[in-house]
Symmetry: C2
Subunit: 259 residues, 2 copies
DNA sequence: TTTATTGTTACTTTAGGGGTAACAAATGTT
DNA sequence: AACATTTGTTACCCCTAAAGTAACAATAAA
């Protein structure tokens, strides 16, 4: 039998906490609706010697029902119930863990001025956190419409409550986004997309300065994305200056004298 | 340092998918708010040689932020975010698994007449399922107020739509429950709480007959609970007869002649 | 009685995670 | 500059859970 037991499903069940054999056997019994150990073995290729133990475990967990006899028959409990139970247990566990973690922070937020974030999720998460904290002014640079679009909703919301300056390297590529953009000078564009340090080429994709005191920049080095959070007001001011100078002359005066 | 890292928390995080060392290190960094590898090592007792790899993994997963340097510093991402992410991924996984499981049932419900359930959860789950399917008549026997109470809500609801007969072995012990009970004869009580088969003593705790065609009985054998589901109309009729005979005479006639 | 099937047991193998020791590289100290 | 300390890495061992294998008793079927 090569019924092949959707390996994706097996992997999902493993991630829900079953062992590989448990997953296979449960899927087998669900497929067969009602089956003997041998039938499950033939469908799943789990060694017959192992089946019995696994079936016992699953029955004890409440995922299977049993009809004693020779051979013994097994029947799967409705997947909705089973997955639901697993989910509930997991959620409880998550809630408990979160409570316990929140009790840990004895010390005051020793907030350090520079941090580097390596995961995609972490980067976006942190950007949202910063956007959520903006009070008055926000300056955004982006060279990637796709990346910027991720935060469209947040930015739209902020537009109502604070001054936003959106700077991009090519107006053309951003025209589908519902914002008013300013363009950088050609020199800056060339510069920013071609920074090489120690043989590694950096590509600045995104940059935010929030209220002139907190910044996060996203760049890719090689094929890896990375973000740097900087909270030093001085650094941010310098960076802000750079962006000021980098805007096309026509935009500079009318907008930035108010700062 | 014997700060002892709440072992319950470590276990919870393990159940959420971290390894033991990952859990310890994450908790360590959350506790310290911002720390070097060595500090984490000293707080958690995870071998220093292992710390670096673990920290890297956690950073890549987005649970930590990094400040490069010598020594490198690490900072924990807000637990709410981290646990939230883990939870979301798990839920997605559960949903996907459920969809895939639901696609499996090629065959018609080969529903067999006799099944045995070994897990506490499975038993209660199945009882609720049966209660949910009752159309006209329900007969319940119980010798355990605690167990019966579990289904108080479901029974209250059913009272409105169908005939319910609740039979108990000692009225006294059930008087706190908001139902009208009937009592079994003393002989039956003695009989039911003292069945010995092959040297094992069985204790019938609970029994339901739904619409005269489906029954589930819960008994404990030794210190294990077990339930048997029977869907044979004949067997159920016999069982119903037994219960009819078992009621105190005063109750029998006025209620059961209508059946 | 023979044969096949069911269920059990004992053993091997493998992989992942954890622990230890030793070393190179970077930093600090005299 | 020489030395000591700390940081970060590597290689190795150990243990365990889980998977795979093989052989055997108990039961049912022929």
């Amino acid at each position: 039998m090569f019924s092949q037991l959707n390996p994706q499903l097996i992997r999902n069940l493993e991630r829900l906490g079953l062992t590989e054999n448990e997953a296979k056997v449960y899927v087998g019994v669900v497929s067969l609706r009602e089956a003997t150990a041998r039938e499950v073995h033939e469908l799943t290729n789990v060694p017959r010697a192992k089946i019995y133990e696994v079936l016992k475990v699953l029955a004890k967990k409440g995922y299977l029902e049993v009809r004693q006899g020779s051979p013994t028959y097994f029947r799967a409990v409705d997947p909705k119930q089973v997955i639901g139970k697993i989910k509930d247990e997991f959620i409880n566990c998550a809630i408990e863990a979160l409570d316990q973690l929140n009790e840990l922070s004895y010390e005051l937020p020793k907030t350090s001025p520079v941090w580097c974030i390596q995961s995609e999720w972490g980067i976006k998460n942190r950007i949202r956190e910063i956007l959520g904290g903006v009070k008055e002014e926000l300056i955004v640079f982006s060279s990637s419409p796709e990346f910027l679009q991720e935060f469209e909703a947040e930015l739209k919301k902020l537009e109502k409550t604070c001054r936003i300056t959106l700077i991009v390297n090519e107006l053309e590529r951003f025209k589908l986004l519902p914002f008013e953009f300013r363009e950088t000078t050609k020199e800056f564009t060339d510069f920013i997309t071609n920074i090489v340090i120690d043989g590694i080429r950096y590509d600045e994709e995104f940059f935010i300065i929030a209220d002139g005191k907190e910044s996060i920049g996203v760049h890719s080095a090689g094929n890896k994305r990375e973000a740097v959070v900087i909270k030093l007001p001085v650094v941010c001011y310098m960076q802000k200056m750079i962006y000021d100078r980098v805007l096309e002359p026509s935009f500079i005066k009318k907008d930035l004298k108010s700062v």
